[in-house]
């Protein structure tokens, strides 16, 4: 600790001055108090300072009692005052530090409230940390699981652009506690640094789960950091870490909301591509259900009025779920509609659609599709099954279920693939259930799939119902069976009965 100035001590203590003047007059006409250099602070300046007694503080001479008897007790009295003054000053210094700390927190809170952006918070934190700790430079580093070492988010005081992962930073991240290294080798920390020894202080920005950032302060060698610096730095990081985390979570929430809004719009667009109404044809009964796993779906179905007494029926399922599947679905639907406009037979139409899709195919995506052309006057149904789950045809006369099996590969797999077409005639009472694999692949809590056999049993039991009831009945059976905690696939069903 540096000793205080004797002249300042005497100047600021009128009581001491008065006491000294009284004592000095008793000591003799030439007695005086002099500072370290010999200037008279009290008493007479007529005497010499050849016979003098030192006044010391912390082992340092700060002045003299000169030219008089009983100099020693006077010196002891002044030393006592000096010690008192020193204690007061040390308390004062402590109090000024507390004032600084208090005002720092106040300023930071104010800046956080004024500009709740991560960049301005980081800048404010770094500025305050540097100012209060009298550091020559400071860095704000972000820490994330994706980065192997901390990244510089802000720098003040020097131009370093690359930071290496020094021991101190590692330690602070692992222990989640602030620390100092007053003998740090600069080149271990900064790429541009060459052989300088630095004093470093580092404090973590903590959330409940992890360290999200670090503040690093730099001083030159010898100008060491103390425990007080850590405390001060901690009070900064503890205040801004929650603020930054709240902003991050808020941004995540806003982004999520934006995506959800877009997905909702996408769903509306996609729904508008599906038939708004069921065909109303004398002697026929139609029903359908479309239930996407997410906001949008890779499943689709279609009723296409191709001519008098001629209705196209489509059900399709794109591999994958969500947005990629939905986009592919729109593409596949357009390709099919375009092909149907030009070509006459179902097999030709599907061949053309497949080639269109193959040429512009998305990586790894394809669609299974069942297309049937129903002559509503005769009940003749000509179909192509491009890799789709075989629809169930209930024959009322035989009282049995038949499967409309595959007649070719899914669309988008092999260009110039051959597609066969098959034909059946629906008799009154017959019906067909078209579905996607979301039904047969739904799993129960034991992980067992609903499966095609169970589907056939359920449909057989519903054979006497209307198409609406068949679909509702199947949906109920599925809901009862499936484990709600398991993610499910897109589900589409379509039923057609000849009355």
């Amino acid at each position: 600790m540096t000793s205080i100035s004797l002249s300042r001590l005497v100047d600021r203590n009128p009581e001491l001055q008065e006491a000294l003047n009284g004592i000095l007059s008793q000591m003799g006409p030439h007695a005086s108090i002099r500072d370290y250099t010999g200037n008279v602070l009290a008493g007479s300046n007529t005497g010499s300072d050849s016979t003098r007694y030192p006044i010391s503080q912390n082992g340092e001479i700060i002045g003299w009692v000169a030219d008089g008897i009983n100099a020693k007790p006077v010196s002891l009295l002044i030393e006592y005052f000096a010690r008192q003054e020193e204690e007061k000053r040390s308390l004062g210094a402590e109090m000024i530090d507390r004032y600084r700390e208090l005002n720092l927190l106040y300023h930071l809170s104010e800046r956080l409230a004024e500009a709740p952006h991560p960049e301005s918070i980081i800048r404010a934190a770094l500025e305050e940390a540097l100012r209060l700790n009298k550091a020559k430079a400071g860095l704000f580093l972000t820490v994330s699981e994706e980065q192997s070492s901390p990244q510089i988010a802000a720098v003040q005081g020097f131009q370093y652009t690359s930071i290496l992962k020094g021991d101190l930073l590692d330690r602070v991240i692992q222990t989640r506690k602030a620390d100092i290294d007053n003998e740090a080798h600069g080149e271990d920390y900064f790429l541009e640094e060459k052989g300088e020894i630095l004093s470093l202080a580092c404090a973590p920005l903590k959330t409940e789960k992890r360290v999200i950032g670090l503040i690093v302060l730099v001083r030159d060698q010898g100008n060491t950091f103390s425990a007080g610096a850590i405390k001060l730095l901690n009070s900064i990081t503890m205040q801004i870490a929650p603020a930054l985390e709240i902003i991050r979570l808020y941004q995540v929430a806003v982004e999520k909301e934006r995506i959800e809004r877009e997905l909702l719009m996408a769903r509306q667009v996609q729904q508008s591509l599906l038939p708004a109404e069921m065909p109303q044809i004398q002697g026929w009964d139609f029903a359908r259900r479309w239930r996407p796993a997410r906001e949008v779906s890779g499943d689709f179905y279609d009723f296409i009025f191709e001519g008098p007494d001629q209705l196209g029926l489509v059900i399709a399922d794109v591999t994958d779920k969500g947005m990629p599947a939905a986009l592919f679905m729109v593409f596949a639907r357009s390709a099919l509609r375009a092909s149907l406009g030009q070509i006459h037979t179902p097999a030709e139409a599907i061949t053309v659609a497949n080639n269109l899709i193959c040429r512009d195919s998305f990586e790894g995506l394809f669609a299974t599709l069942f297309y049937a052309r129903l002559m509503t006057d005769s009940g003749q149904l000509t179909y192509v099954n491009a890799g789709h789950n075989p629809p169930l045809l209930y024959r009322s006369l035989q009282d049995e279920i038949q499967l409309l099996k595959r007649t070719g590969l899914p669309l988008g797999v092999v260009e110039n693939s051959d597609y066969e077409e098959c034909s059946v005639v629906l008799q009154p009472g017959d019906f067909i259930l078209f579905y996607t694999d979301g039904i047969t692949e739904a799993v129960n809590s034991a992980g067992v799939e609903f499966g095609p056999e169970r589907l056939q049993r359920v449909i057989y039991e519903l054979k006497a119902c209307s198409t609406d009831e068949i679909i509702s009945g199947l949906e109920n059976a599925l809901n009862e069976y499936a484990d709600p905690s398991q993610s499910f696939d897109d589900i589409t069903m379509m039923a057609v009965r000849r009355m």
Binding site: R89, G92, A93, I96, Y99, R100, N103
Partner: protein, 126 residues
Amino acid sequence: MPSKILIADDEAFIRLLIEQTLEEFENQGVVIFTADNGEDALDIIRKERPELVFMDVMMPKLNGFEVCQVVKRDEDLKNIFMVILTAKGQEVDRLHGEQVRADIFMTKPFDPDELIGIVATVLKRS
């Protein structure tokens, strides 16, 4: 002529804190005066003409607002930079400070760095 600063506060410890905060100026030759009541403060202001005064509000004899008002109404003294430094932080106090044309109204606990900044600016200007 050395620059002069007056610290007026009836609490000795606060005077000491402000003085200690401004030590670096004192080391450069700035003279710091202190007063523990309003009357003494006004006497020192008239006699020494400091460039800057840190003035507490609640003081015996004359309070800080009264001293400030006298200074700012006096043609010879009105350019002295008056800082009201008080623990009374209500808006009404701040308005009172404005009424008596204090140059700055600061609350305790003061920000040591802000104090240093004010002194540096005022002394540089004068």
